[in-house]
């Protein structure tokens, strides 16, 4: 009965969605306002207005800075929720890495990970710093740093990796995305512009392009660091329990 009912609801929802989709303008229709006003403006003037060669970064960080700031806050809130439910791994509580898995990690994998991690981290730094001229940016780079630490943690264990990125380093950096974003936005106010416009009417005109570019890079770095730390902290919070049980067992 439940199955039939849920199937019915889902089918009804699907029909409704399809109906709405059918009444939307066709994808890529050149007559819609998006195509006639927004896209040409972005494509034609993004470079001179935002001083970033990658239009997408210009759109994300500059035109739609508020959106991105909200997203960054959401990511931070996700971490806060995870930590509220699971709690942080406790400092000093884990005295040693207890390997409970039937397969302790192998020498080959360990050596390979040792060699890979510096390159992965450098690649993510490249992704973050080049966000304004090539695909990539803070979110992507942060995810790659997080991924490299996840590889490291699965191979070497929570003890080793939380020793390398201790909690007292992670905790202040977790909010860096939100803080840097807000500070850069506020600096725009100080410079005589609007919040998050990156444009400083009070500054000298010749300084303007470099200023915008570097502020964008600064925001990217902040997002990257913050995102990476959030991911790492979530992972540590989720692994933590097992390690503690392992210690007492």
């Amino acid at each position: 009965m439940k199955r039939v009912l849920s199937l019915f609801f889902i089918a009804a929802l699907g029909v409704l969605l399809l109906y709405v989709v059918a009444s939307m303008p066709p994808m890529g229709d050149p007559q819609t306002p998006t195509a006639t006003h927004v896209i040409p403006r972005y494509l034609e003037r993004a470079e001179e207005e935002t001083h970033t060669e990658n239009v997408i970064t210009g759109v994300i960080l500059n035109y739609r800075g508020y959106d991105t700031m909200g997203e960054v806050t959401v990511i931070f809130c996700a971490l806060a929720a995870v930590l509220a439910v699971l709690g942080r791994e406790r400092r000093g509580r884990i005295r040693g890495f207890v390997d409970r898995s039937p397969v302790p990690s192998s020498t080959i994998v360990r050596t390979m990970v040792r060699f890979m991690v510096p390159f992965i981290i450098l690649f993510s730094v490249y992704t973050i710093l080049h966000g304004e001229i090539s695909p990539g940016g803070g979110f992507q780079g942060g995810a790659i740093i997080g991924g490299s630490m996840i590889i490291f943690t699965t191979v070497f264990g929570l003890y080793e990796s939380s020793r390398r990125i201790p909690q007292k380093v992670r905790a202040p950096l977790e909010g860096s995305a939100v803080i840097v974003f807000f500070l850069v936005g506020a600096l725009g106010l100080v410079g005589g512009g609007n919040f998050l416009t990156y444009a400083w009417p009070h500054a000298a005109r010749g300084l303007q392009p470099a200023l915008v570019t570097w502020l964008t890079v600064l925001v990217e770095v902040g997002i990257g660091l913050g995102g990476a730390m959030v991911l790492i902290s979530i992972l540590f919070a989720m692994i933590r329990e097992e390690e503690e049980i392992a210690l007492t067992a």
Binding site: I56, P135, G136, A143, G147, L231, I239, E242
Partner: protein, 82 residues
């Protein structure tokens, strides 16, 4: 040719999504879901959104898979029979 490729991707996407939902073994579901993410990343690349493709590959296929695996091992792995 282009349409055929796109169609293949879309069919694969739907297939992996359904498989992930229907899998009885949660670990298998997680792995299938990471395959879904990879195909999605390819799809983003085809739609000329390399930024999204990078994010999808790093977050969807990398980070969330590991987080899901950790969660699966903390809970029961198999769905109980009705």
């Amino acid at each position: 040719m282009e349409t055929a490729l796109n169609l293949t991707f879309i069919v694969l996407l739907v297939a992996t999504a359904l498989m992930a939902v229907w899998a009885r073994d949660l670990l298998a579901a997680v792995i299938i879901f990471s395959v879904y993410s990879l195909i999605m990343a390819l799809m983003w690349q085809r739609l000329q959104a390399p930024d999204l493709a990078l994010t999808e590959a790093a977050v969807g296929a990398g980070v969330t898979t590991v987080l899901f695996v950790v969660t699966v091992f903390k809970t029961r792995r198999r769905e109980e029979e009705e």
